[in-house]
Symmetry: C2
Subunit: 201 residues, 2 copies
């Protein structure tokens, strides 16, 4: 009879374990620490085992990105829910969730935000990526459309927060001691955002 206390031949939930190991490796040692073999080792499994759950490294990355997107969406939504029920406060909260997630999950966020999306070619972005994207869209919805529709507002906010996050990650935004700190609310305040006359819900 099989000894249940000893290591069983089947892991049980290797796929999940590999994703978790991968995220941990990412956040501990950055992009270059994410390795199929290290994930396998962390899960206590041989180096070729992951191949049966993901199509190579690319497959594992895709799964990790999808998982990350779920966490990302959660982080933003949580901030939004804590904010005042007022469009600008909620938009800022969304952005703070965006940045906060990137800071707290540096390696993971780097991986996520540097994935070429299949948005155009396959028209099928990851499920959780869509959830995250919709949070951004919804946060922008209460504001007046630009001359070319709502996309202008969305892209402006997205570009601004993504750029700020990116510069932050690349340590190009100095958190200086001398001059007053420039935080994201200062940048957001520079955007010409007008709320639509009527609150919709």
């Amino acid at each position: 009879m099989p000894n249940k206390t000893a290591k069983p031949h089947h892991h049980g939930d290797l796929r999940e374990a590999l994703i978790k190991s991968g995220i941990q490796l990412l956040n501990e040692g950055g992009m270059n620490s994410l390795t199929l073999r290290k994930c396998a080792a962390a899960a206590g499994v041989s180096h070729a085992a992951p191949a049966h759950h993901f199509s190579g490294l690319q497959g594992l990355v895709a799964a990790i990105v999808d998982r990350g997107m779920a966490m990302f969406a959660c982080a933003m939504q949580k901030k939004i829910d804590q904010a005042d029920n007022e469009p600008m406060a909620r938009l800022l909260a969304m952005c703070e969730g965006y940045l906060g997630f990137a800071i707290e999950n540096e390696g993971l966020a780097y991986l996520m935000f540097n994935q070429k999306s299949d948005f155009i070619e396959k028209k099928v972005p990851g499920r959780n990526a869509s959830v995250a994207f919709n949070i951004l869209v919804d946060s922008c919805a209460p504001f007046k459309d630009g001359p070319k529709g709502p996309l202008v507002t969305q892209y402006a906010v997205w570009s601004l927060i993504q750029g700020y996050t990116h510069l932050f990650q690349m340590s190009q935004i100095k958190v200086d001691q001398a001059c007053p700190t420039v935080d994201f609310s200062d940048l957001l305040a520079m955007l010409n955002l007008e709320e639509t006359s009527a609150y919709r819900c």
Copy 2:
């Protein structure tokens, strides 16, 4: 006597050749195509030769980034020089140079923009990176400072163009057929930029 037509033992300008090969590899096959051994092969030299010119792969990358920054600064300056002598036109031109460079040198730009800068720790960013950064600063100079000084304007513009470029590179901005194209001028127009009353030169 040495036969000059045959391959000489000394390359002549290996350092330069490696940088050029590296940039070509980057723009042809993206980040994962940049390899010390491939650069060496492209320069017709053994796999360990590069070590005498750069401190490993990291050193080659640093040199390539520095070279890229020079090209980047050129691209922006060229656009600025072609623009009307008017602050907003020049700012937009700078941004178009920024984006244009990233599009024309996809792999190189990706590498450059994803390098963690030593701006804070070593206080010494690459020489050419400073040149490029100063072009951005100068382009923002004619506009009124935010409540916290000129940094707000700089970071707003930088974040916006960097974010837009990044999203573009990641194919997250759809160049759609149905809805009117959102280009960067639309986003820049959303920024609250007021020129200072007096033109300074």
